[in-house]
Symmetry: C2
Subunit: 358 residues, 2 copies
């Protein structure tokens, strides 16, 4: 773009590269942590019966139907819930709102790869904190002066979950910082920090309907925290785009939240599959942290991750590989349906047998 | 919020106040420039037949189906189209992307009230330029040093349209600035600046499906410009939220663009109604600039706008009043369906007769 006169006024960014979204339906897609099951049948019903005529009108800017449904499900007040266009939108707004100080914000060196992208986008100073060798967080790293703290729990792409006691201690040591717990994968077996909200005015918990509620395609994320935090977030949202949630997204979101039993059923199925896959992968010599999410972060002593990634791609099985320090010998594998995981395991068995020269 | 320790790191904003969105369906809603007609029947069909199961997967981050449909309709290349969550989202991204210089950006003193909100949100310096008494733009005001230029055409809330020759002269005088023409209301009788795109690498044209395509509730806006501009915008978008457009929004957007004849039909109906309402309002003594949009910006020599606003509210007719310098004696009235405008006119006739003591 260096040939354009207007270039000097343009913001330069290194954009986040989203996981591949192939249009080929024949692929086994285990690369972006989507849910292998469809959303609640109630979502399908609500869309089938949706009155398209109402689309001529703006949606409710306060998204009250959906915030109320979420508040009811999570046992918080509706002024303690903020809704956005996926948790990326919620997190992007939260960075813009809460990380506006001079001190660096803190997050792990191995984590969701959007955090440094947002920090760069807004010019927020940041300092990454090295995880231990087992990918766990050293709580003392977050006791220093900072302009805000964020990490996912369970962490991505490692799947490692931290105890609420660690989160609570970090909250206590940082009354001057907003601490964001990014719970995109919390519904697959990690205790949520939502229970801490009444006691900590500096805690923001962010979740999404993209993973556990099987609605990545509908773009719904949300944050929960005490009313003052939510109000600050809403003020920035209203200064950015008053109407972010479409009428269809609101209707589908409400239906998904209301169908709690279906939600629990599919989470349970994914957790069962994950535990089975863990055993099978262990037997093949793979090593991985004990994931509490809907993915596994695996490495093998005898097969380079990058090579395995390419071999799987040949078989039309897509997983995620991050060419980054400390994790460049790992693959992140989404937990799909049982038959998808069986296809993966069966191929991995062949690869491992060949490696052993059998 | 002054009691919270974390407050010092929080961004302070004066949020934009969106027009009232009453839930009462019995009201005559002429306050947010929505379309009185439903979206294309093809949109209803697409939603009815939408496969909810596909929602488990992320949407296409490049939104290629919709950018291609728009490119086809407007006769540009698909790498010359950017899509976002309503034109507010597109404009918010464009401010963040293109208005990153040190010199103030320029826009009219009377204009869309979100421009100064975005400038404040991102800390962009700006200087408003006074419109003439007849609400037209003085082109020389935009020949000074600046970090970017934006104005709606036709302007809001005045409805005044500028000639493309004025836009072209501003583009020529400002090769170092991105010039954004906000065409939210262009389809109601204003020539579009899209025709200038091949000749000016600094022109970004922003449009929306909220008004002329009757889909305010679906949240779809788009920008058109030369590939380098669109690439810069996409880079910032990918650094903010990779997946902004839901699968339902993409499907509905494609259907709406493809039904060109329905689109033209409803635009034509609204323009006819507007021209009729102009005559009737003139006869009642109202004055207004010659609107080329789907609203009229009216004042009356004998009735204060604020009082009339309150009287209409009593009658369940909602219009928009801006308590701002130079326009605090005007009302912005959306062009609704014929029967809605008849109800409005009939009430205004009564008010005017009473005023004349008849």
């Amino acid at each position: 773009m260096s040939t354009y006169a207007w270039e000097k006024n343009v913001r330069k960014v290194t954009p986040y590269t989203p996981g591949e979204q192939p249009k080929l339906l024949s692929m086994i897609k285990l690369n972006t942590n989507e849910n292998p099951y469809p959303p609640s049948p109630k979502v399908a019903k609500v869309l089938r019966e949706f009155s398209a005529d109402t689309l001529r009108l703006y949606p409710d800017p306060s998204v009250s139907d959906l915030t109320q449904a979420l508040a009811g499900y999570y046992g918080v007040d509706s002024n303690e819930v903020f809704v956005g266009v996926g948790s990326d939108d919620v997190l992007a707004m939260a960075f813009l709102t809460f990380f506006n100080g001079k001190d660096p914000i803190l997050f792990p060196d191995i984590t969701y790869s959007f955090y440094d992208v947002w920090a760069d986008l807004y010019g927020i100073p940041y300092e990454t904190q090295a995880l231990r060798e087992d990918f766990s967080i050293r709580r003392e790293d977050y006791f220093k002066k900072n302009g805000g703290i964020i990490f996912p729990n369970p962490n991505a792409p490692t799947g490692v979950a931290e105890d609420l006691s660690l989160i609570e201690e970090i909250l206590k040591k940082n009354p001057e910082s907003v601490v964001i717990i990014d719970e995109a994968y919390v519904d697959f077996g990690t205790p949520s920090a939502v229970s801490l909200i009444p006691r900590y005015d500096n805690l923001l918990v962010v979740q999404t309907m993209s993973k556990s509620r099987a609605m990545a395609g509908m773009r719904i994320g949300y944050a929960m925290g005490q009313p003052a935090l939510i109000e600050a977030l809403n003020n920035v949202k209203y200064a950015f785009n008053s109407y972010t949630m479409s009428r269809t997204a609101i209707a589908a979101g409400v239906a998904a939240v209301e169908d709690a039993s279906y939600f629990e059923e599919i989470c349970h199925k994914i957790v069962s599959t994950r535990e089975h896959v863990k055993k099978e992968l262990s037997a093949l010599g793979f090593r991985f942290p004990d994931s509490r999410s809907n993915f596994l972060f695996v490495t093998h002593p005898d097969i380079a991750a990058k090579d395995l990634f390419a071999m799987l791609r040949q078989e039309n099985i897509i997983v995620r590989y991050f060419d980054k320090p400390r994790i460049d010998d790992y693959l992140r594998i989404t937990i799909g349906a049982d038959e998808e995981m069986e296809a993966l395991l069966s191929f991995l068995r062949k690869v491992c047998m060949k490696k052993e020269g059998i």
